[in-house]
């Protein structure tokens, strides 16, 4: 019981870590899950149809059903490929009441210069750097 709980916690932590490290993984997992569901359902319905055709003796559309099944699988895989590849627009998280801090001179883009900097320096580091230059 505790081992199962441990592995469950491990799974949750691993998925959380993955979501955190790769923010787009949510989209990736969603795409994979939907495609897998579509493929599995197609295969299920196809096998059901084959069973029914065998019992009823109506085998006129069996070859068409195979073609249809493979087309559905192929199309869903193509959809998945383009769904994953499609770049998503970068949206930064908003803080409640954020608009109050912006003025005519500065808007949301103000923080971009800090986002794009490789390393930010604290006041102490800035002073030390100035002293080194002097």
């Amino acid at each position: 019981m505790i081992k199962k709980l441990n592995s469950f916690i491990g799974f949750i932590l691993a998925s959380k870590l993955m979501m955190w490290a790769v923010p787009d993984s949510k989209r990736f997992i969603k795409g994979i899950v939907i495609t897998a569901a579509v493929i599995l359902l197609t295969m299920y319905f196809h096998s059901e149809y084959l069973g029914w055709a065998e019992i009823s003796g109506k085998i006129g559309f069996v070859s068409t059903s195979y073609i249809l099944k493979n087309i559905i699988i192929l199309v869903s895989l193509i959809f998945l490929y383009f769904y994953i590849r499609k770049p998503t627009k970068k949206i930064y998280p908003k803080v409640e009441g954020e608009e109050k801090i912006y003025t005519k001179n500065n808007n949301e883009d103000y923080f971009d210069k800090f986002r794009n900097k490789d390393k930010l320096k604290t006041k102490a580091e800035q002073i030390l750097e100035k002293d080194d230059k002097d």
């Binding site: 441990n6 490290a21 930064y92 803080v95 912006y102 800090f114 986002r115 320096k121 604290t122």
Partner: protein, 85 residues
């Protein structure tokens, strides 16, 4: 910072970049919250001051991550001991 910096040195560049971006974004969020809390605007701060604020928050966040990793490791070890015993 030793454990975290060692861990980051071993990680691939893409993971490092994503980690840094995530931490930076969180630090900016916290700074925004602080500015809102004190009823100030961006114009009240110079670029250097803002850089200092974000850098300090980044440092704090890195410390939080370090503590979080250690706590998770300790919890995992604890569960392992309980499950084993």
């Amino acid at each position: 910072m030793g454990i975290l910096s060692d861990l980051l040195k071993k990680a691939p560049q893409s993971v490092k970049d994503k980690y840094k971006m995530k931490i930076r974004e969180k630090a900016i969020e916290r700074v925004k919250e602080k500015i809102i809390k004190h009823n100030k605007t961006i114009d009240d701060y110079s670029d250097d001051e803002m850089q200092d604020l974000i850098a300090s928050e980044e440092g704090g966040l890195n410390e939080d991550v370090k503590k979080g990793i250690l706590t998770a490791l300790l919890v995992a070890a604890g569960i392992e001991i309980v499950a084993g015993g």
